[in-house]
Structure formats: C-alpha cells, structure tokens
C-alpha cells in the first residue's frame, strides 16, 4: 500500500516548512524511522523520518520549496508496487490538501498593515475605454484607493483628445488669429496673410501629443494600470483584453463601460474618408477645399463650418431639422444663424440629404428642401450628423446589458441593469459631451466606492466653438415656460460691454432665465466672445444655489466680458446699469 509522506506537524506554532534536502532519492529503499529529508522552519531544521519501510517511489516536492505542514511531499510504496494513478500527475504547486485535518486553519495576522488588501478579484474597477470619461474615472477611482485597470483599444484620451475637442480648438485658435489679421485693415499687408495648413495640422498634433503624455503621467502617478488592447466582457466581472492576437483575462469587481462613440454615417452618404469625411479625416486635411458641404447643423456641423469658412472655403450647412443647434435657446439660435450667415456660410434647414455621390473631383449632393429637390456640389462633404455609441464586439448582449436604442441604459447613478457594471459618456447617449462623460465617470466611481452620487444634467454646460462662441446651461426659455415656471428674463448685449467693444467683438448677449418665487436661476445662454469661459460663474451660481440677486451682487473687474453676466442678472431685476430701458 502506498504511504504518503507529509511535512509533519513540527510543534505547536509551526505552520510552514521548507524542504531543505532530500536524504534519499527516488527509487531508493527506505526503512521506517530512517531520516529521509530535512525540513527548515522559521525555528528549526529537523530531519523527518520515513513513516514506513519501502521504496521512495516519488518525490513530489523538490528541495528548496516551502509548503504548509501536512503537505504531501513524497510517496513510499512497497517493493514491487506501482505508483498509484492518483499520485502520477501530482505536482508540487497543486499538491492537494492533506488528509482532511481537523486542525483549525493556520492563521497569520498581518498586524500593522491594515492597508493590505485581501481581494478575490484582481481589480476593484476595470474601465473599458480611456477617453475623457474613462481616464477621469480611473484617476478619481485611484484617488479613492481603488485598484484600477484602464483598457483602451486605441489612443489615450479618446475622441475628445484625438479627434474632437482638443484638435479643433487648436485649429480654431490659429484660425481666429488668422481671420483677425486677414479681415483687419490695421495690419500692414494684412489682407495678404495666408495660412500654412501643414503647420497648422502639425501644431495640432503637438498639442494632442503633449496632452496625451500629460494624461499618461497622471495615470502613472495614480498607479492606474493602463493596458492597450480590445476589451470585452467574458462575464460581468471578467474582461478579456486582446492585442496583437494575444488575449489576457482580468478580473474586476466593477466594470465601467466608457467605450464612447463613433461618427454616424447616413446610408445614402457613406463616409469614404476621401471625399466624404468624418471628423477624424477632416483634422488631417492637407489642402483647403474651395467648396465644402457640411451635413448636419449640430454642434460639430457649425464648428466645422466655421473652420472651413474661415479658411476660405465656401461652406453650406445642410440640416434636416427646422433649425441648427436645435437644443439651444431660440434667441441664441437666431443670433448664431445670423452671424454665421453674415460670415458667408449658407445654411439650409429642413433639408434632407437624398444622396451624396462622389465623382472624380467633387461630391454631388442631392437634397430635399421642403419638397423641393436641390443639387449641391463640393470637393468635400463633412458628415456631422451625430455619433453612434461604440458597443461593437464588447459582448454587451452576452452579459445581458440593457440598452435604449443602441445606447447603454443607465440610471442617474450610472448603473446599468447588471450589478457592478456601470456605463458613462457617449455610450449612454445622455449628453454627448466630454465634460459630461467626465462628470458621469466621477459619479460612477463614487457610487462604486460607496458614496451616493447622482448626476444632474441641469447643471452641465453645453459649449459650441463658433465665432463667436455659444455656451449654455439649464433650461431654455421655451423649456422653462413649458415646465410651468413663472419666469423672467435678464439679458445684456455685448454691444453695451466696454471690453467687448474694445476687442471688436460686440456680437451676442448674455441671457439669464430665473423664476420669480425664489429667484432660482434656471438657465443661462451666452452667445459671444469667450462665452464658454464666461458661463463658469453661472455654473457655480447654479451649483451653490445662489439666487439671481446673488449673481447680480458680484462686483466685477472692469473692463471685462464677465461684467455682462452681472448686468444680465441685474437686468432681471430691472436694475441693469448699462442698459437703456427700451432695449
């Protein structure tokens, strides 16, 4: 009969022993009571005697391996006995627990190390997608003490950093200076100024690279594990990440889906990357087209229209809806439309694209404008009809994530229907803006980490980078009325603002909507130079629940554009200083 040799109980406090030396080798004859190996513990080195007489048939645990006491280290058989089957494949790493011992499990107390984590899962949070939603969530999670795994198939920073917010702002900044000089008669030879498109693109690329390095450093400093590869769900707690044909499995207690979105295409106007472009290709354009058709009059559409218009192209915006930037306040829409048109952009609303056919040098676009067929042509067509969530191949169906249309369905805590799985950013399609994604990311993480946080979209601003800019938060006038608020409007034109005049940017206004009972600010809409920065104080006011009177009490530096905000707040009370009564 085969006899198991174990590391014996070596006294009352010893839990582990290291096999120091085998005194007998496999196949050798051993006698009962004869020392067969030496074992070292934290206290002693001792010989262990053979429990039986026979052949040392198999040594399971080799020298210099430490094992818990009672681990089987060798098998002794009778002279002619074969090694029983169950011991054949036994390996030291997986040495089965010894004959069930009644002893209480050895416990070791890691005193003085309360931060030592005993986790059955590798990560606390895994985040699919390292866009501004994902990486911000990762950093906050790490700040709160979570072990974070950040997975990105593409580039750190996602759409915003690589193909969206940041690169376009780099362009707009260059173009702004360019047009200022070009359209001015102050500068000598001003009208002859021209733009070096190649350099403009390479500056954009530098900006993007700098920012990516910055984000990468931030992630490092927070000890976030960043891996590149395509992540998909195996189950709700397991993510497989593949890159270059190799796959690795990670476990996480929570997963945040932050896979973002991609440019949407129309069936009759497929993006080909050459003539029909998405935002990605637009940004690396090598020459300035003469005629550009922008399909879609949303945020992206008007921004691209602005860029190309300023670069000297003839731009036509084709919008299916009755208005461009439809979510904005009507006065803003009207104001911006007027200004864009003044800048030379053609805006066609209520116009449906019927087809877009690339020819040799230009694209023919047929539209249906209020039942009338029109033909347009341009060298480039820019698709700005919106973005669709990126959920391809990440196995959402497999784990049973509920969606709304193609967007992942979440509640105000960013929880999906599956426990421990959250989603943020464009993939949930709530407010497809970078800063909304970040805010959602923080809400998701804080909920995971045990705080109770809900998102309030009413306090998240929208920004449009046209010339001039549009910024808004909260309800539009129409919405507020529809909700039954008893409201009043405070409004102040930049024309009456000293700084705006001095800057040569007198267009636009600040419009504040507040209700009468408490003076609660319900919405702010700014059309004008630097509107996106000016909205900041209004956001603060709304967040801290300042009343419109509070906003009006702020003393501003002079001259500043922000005086216009104060004035608008005062106007709400009929107390604007720099506004004549009849305005």
């Amino acid at each position: 009969m085969a006899i198991e040799v174990v590391v014996p109980m070596l006294g009352i406090t010893i839990e582990k022993g290291k096999i120091l030396k085998w005194l007998k080798s496999e196949g050798e004859f051993v006698k009962k009571g004869e020392p067969i190996f030496e074992v070292e513990t934290d206290k002693v080195v001792t010989e262990v005697e053979s429990p039986a007489t026979g052949i040392l048939k198999k040594i399971i645990v080799p020298e210099n391996i430490e094992v818990p006491v009672l681990t089987i280290v060798a098998i002794i058989t009778e002279k002619d006995e074969e090694l029983p089957e169950k011991y054949r494949s036994i390996k030291p790493e997986i040495a089965p627990p010894p004959t069930p011992s009644m002893l209480s499990q050895p416990q070791s107390h890691k005193v003085l190390a309360p931060s030592v984590r005993i986790s059955e899962e590798d990560y606390d949070i895994a985040i699919l997608g390292a866009g501004v939603g994902g990486y911000v969530a990762a950093i906050r999670a790490a700040q709160m003490g979570a072990r974070v795994l950040l997975i990105e198939k593409d580039e750190l920073g996602g759409t915003c950093l690589n193909h969206g917010c940041i690169p376009t702002k780099s362009f707009l900044s260059d173009i702004k200076i360019y047009t200022k000089i070009r359209d001015s008669d102050i500068f000598i030879n001003g009208s002859k100024v021209s733009i070096n498109l190649k350099k403009m693109v390479s500056r954009k690329n530098r900006v993007v690279e700098t920012m990516k390095r910055g984000v990468s450093m931030l992630l490092d400093s927070q000890k976030v594990t960043f891996i590149r590869g395509f992540g998909k769900f195996i189950d709700s707690r397991t993510i497989e990440v593949s890159s270059n044909g190799k796959a690795k499995i990670f476990k996480a207690k929570n997963v945040i889906i932050a896979t973002g979105s991609q440019a949407a295409s129309l069936p009759m106007a497929k993006i080909d990357g050459k003539m029909i472009l998405s935002s990605e290709e637009v940004l690396d354009l090598r020459e300035i087209p003469q005629k550009v058709i922008v399909i879609g009059g949303g945020v992206l559409g008007v921004e691209f229209a602005t860029i190309f218009n300023c670069l000297g192209a003839k731009v036509t915006i084709v919008e299916m809806l009755p208005q461009i930037i439809l979510m904005e306040d009507e006065e803003v829409i009207r104001g911006l439309k007027l200004l864009l048109e003044k800048q030379g952009i053609t805006i066609l609303t209520r116009s449906k694209v019927l087809s877009a056919s690339p020819r040799r040098k230009k694209v023919e676009v047929t539209i249906d404008q209020e039942r009338k067929k029109e033909r347009l042509s341009g060298e480039k067509v820019i698709m700005a009809v919106g973005r669709t969530p990126y959920t391809n191949g990440i196995n959402l169906e497999r784990i049973g994530i509920q969606t709304e249309g193609r967007f992942v369905k979440v509640n105000s805590k960013m929880e999906t229907n599956i426990e421990g799985v959250y989603a943020i950013g464009d993939v949930i399609g709530k407010m497809m803006l970078a800063h909304a994604a970040s805010a959602e990311g923080i809400v998701a993480v804080e909920n995971i980490m045990g705080k109770v946080r809900e998102i309030d979209y009413q306090k998240i601003p929208r920004c449009i980078y046209t010339f001039p800019e549009v910024a808004s938060v909260g309800l539009t006038e129409a919405e507020a009325k529809k909700k039954g608020y008893d409201i009043q409007i405070g409004k102040f034109p930049f024309l009456n603002n000293g700084k705006a005049l001095a800057m040569g940017e007198p267009e636009g206004f600040v419009k504040i909507i507040a209700e009468n009972e408490l003076g609660q600010i319900l919405g702010v809409h700014i059309l004008g130079e630097n509107a996106t920065d000016l909205i900041g104080e209004c956001l603060l006011a709304m967040n801290v629940e300042a009343s419109i009177e509070d906003l009006g009490e702020v003393v501003k530096g002079h001259p500043t554009l922000s005086e216009a905000v104060t004035e608008a707040a005062l106007d709400w009370q009929g107390l604007s200083i720099h506004k004549s009564k009849q305005f």
Binding site: L518, G519, Q520, V544, E545, A546, S547, E549
Partner: protein, 348 residues
Amino acid sequence: MMKESEFPNRTVKIRAVPAARRRAEREGIDLSPVEGSGPGGIILEKDIEHFRITQGAVEGTLVTGKIHASSLARKLAEKRGVPIETVEGTGTRGRIMMGDVIKATEKPVILIKEKGIFGQTIPMTQMRKVIAKRMAQSAFTAPHIYFFTDVEMDELVKLREKILGDFEKQFNVRLSINDFIIKAVALTIREFPMLNAMVKGEEIHVMPEINIGLAVAMEEGLIVPAIPRADQLGLGKIAEMRADMVGRARLGKLKLEEIERGTFTVSSLAQYDVIFFTAILNPPQSGILSIGKTCDQLALKEGQVITKKIARFGLSVDHRIIDGTVAAAFLQSLKKRLEDPTFTFMHL
C-alpha cells in the same frame, strides 16, 4: 418597607442610550415622544437629531450658531414655512440645499400616505405604543362604570353667543363651549374631590390641584394636555390656554408636564354626529367626561312643543374608588351648572 409597585410611578420608563440622554438634557428635549430606532426601540443619539428635524424641538431649544444653507434653500424654507434650522443639509459640509427643504416639507405627506394602505403592516409609532399600553392598562385595571345624562345647552349656547364678540376682543381668543364645560367640570369637582383622585397601589391620592385635561385628536393619536387649576382660572385664561395647547399639540410641541398634570379628562366629539359615547379612563385618573353632539330635541314646555338643545354627557369613573351615587351626584351637579350658566359663570 415599600414594595416597588408602591413607589409613585411618575413617568413611563424611557430607554435611551446615555449619549442620547446627555444630548436631550443639554438641549432640553423631552425624550418621551422621541421614537427609538435602536434594538428594542432604545433611543439613540441620532433619534434625537431626527426628532428635532422632523418634529421640531420643544420651544426655545434650537441650535444656536450659523445656519449653513444655500441662498435658495433659505428663501424656499421661508416661503414654505419650514424652520430652516430643522432641515438636515446634504450639500457639501452639510449645507442645506433646496432639495433638503423640499424633502423636509414632504415628510408629513409621506406619513399620511403610508397610513391607509390596505393589507399593509404598519409598525406602531412610539406614541401609538404608549397609547395602546395605557388604554389596555386602564381598561384592565380600573373597573369602569358609566353614567349618562342629557344636558340642556340652550342657555349655554345663548350665553356664549352673547359674550363671544366682546370676549374675543378682550382675550384675543375665540371662546368655545368646551371652555365653559372645562370650567364647570372644575367647579363641580371642588364639591366631589374623589373625582380628582388617583389610585396608587393601595392608596387613594386625592390630588391637590384640579387640572382638567382636554383630549385632542391628532394624526398619530390622542393627546390630552391639561389646564392647571381650572377651577381657579377665569374663562378667558382657560380659553387662551386651551387654544394655545391645542395648537401646540398639533405641532407636537407640548411639554411633557402639560400632558402629565391632568387629574380629570374631558373628551368631546361634539363636532361629529355622535350622540353619546363611553370613554376609557386616562390612567391614573378616576374620571372622564364624554360629550356628544348637541342636538335639537322636541320638548313640551307649558303645553307648548318647543325645541331644546340637548347634549348627552357620559361619565366614566373608576368604580374601585367612586361609588355610583357619588358619580350620579357629580353628574347631576354638573348638569345643573351648565343649564344655568349665568349663575355658574356669573363671577367670571
């Protein structure tokens, strides 16, 4: 040596953790209406906090110091009549936000909603528990005996109507029939001290002061604040105290003392179509007067059919110490006082 049961039982024993007691004492909060959320209903410190927020603390005990609230929250609280200091803030550093004020105003609404759903099990509120216990105790320890009489209210009603206007000018309070009844009961008790007695162990304590309790119905149950020395107070003072206490009872702002001092209770359902009813004694009192609706009844007067305003009065007494004849005589005397109010209230 006295047995434990013979010690005067002043208050219902309240279980509270020491820190809760310290807090309550420091802030002058009476623990009896506080609902405990700890094991076995023991009162925790947070319960006091909660109590302060939801019920409002007993007068003059509000936290001092600056209130941390947003501008809009302040305004909203003012508009809705919510004392801002009772609102729990959820903003950064406990700042009170609009949502908090809204929540605070919504609370009672939620309470009512929870009440009447069929098939739902509702845990007893602390108050309900106390009431349940006291009613059961009363019904099962004091053998009740009931007496009824019809009281002609015509004169009293007339008297009230006559003096109502002047009275209101003088005392700034609307005089009610109950005020007369309270006074009349108090005066009658002077003649029948046993109706002002309490059984304690094997002793009968005839209480030195005549404090007439008036049952006030509230959302959560009945509460009986008492008007002290009603026999010695003028009608004006009685009316004033009655109005004040009924008002505060509804706000949950009565002091324990006001509830506990009663020696005899008057319970009226006159505003309902209830002709008469029997009442259970409010322990350890030995008498309670129940008053039904005042109805017009036909009667013969000198051969003429006339109408009379009749209210049926019921008297429940503790038969252990009050004999039927005493109770009957008391009721008789009371009836007389009310039917001839000019005389009764002449000197007031």
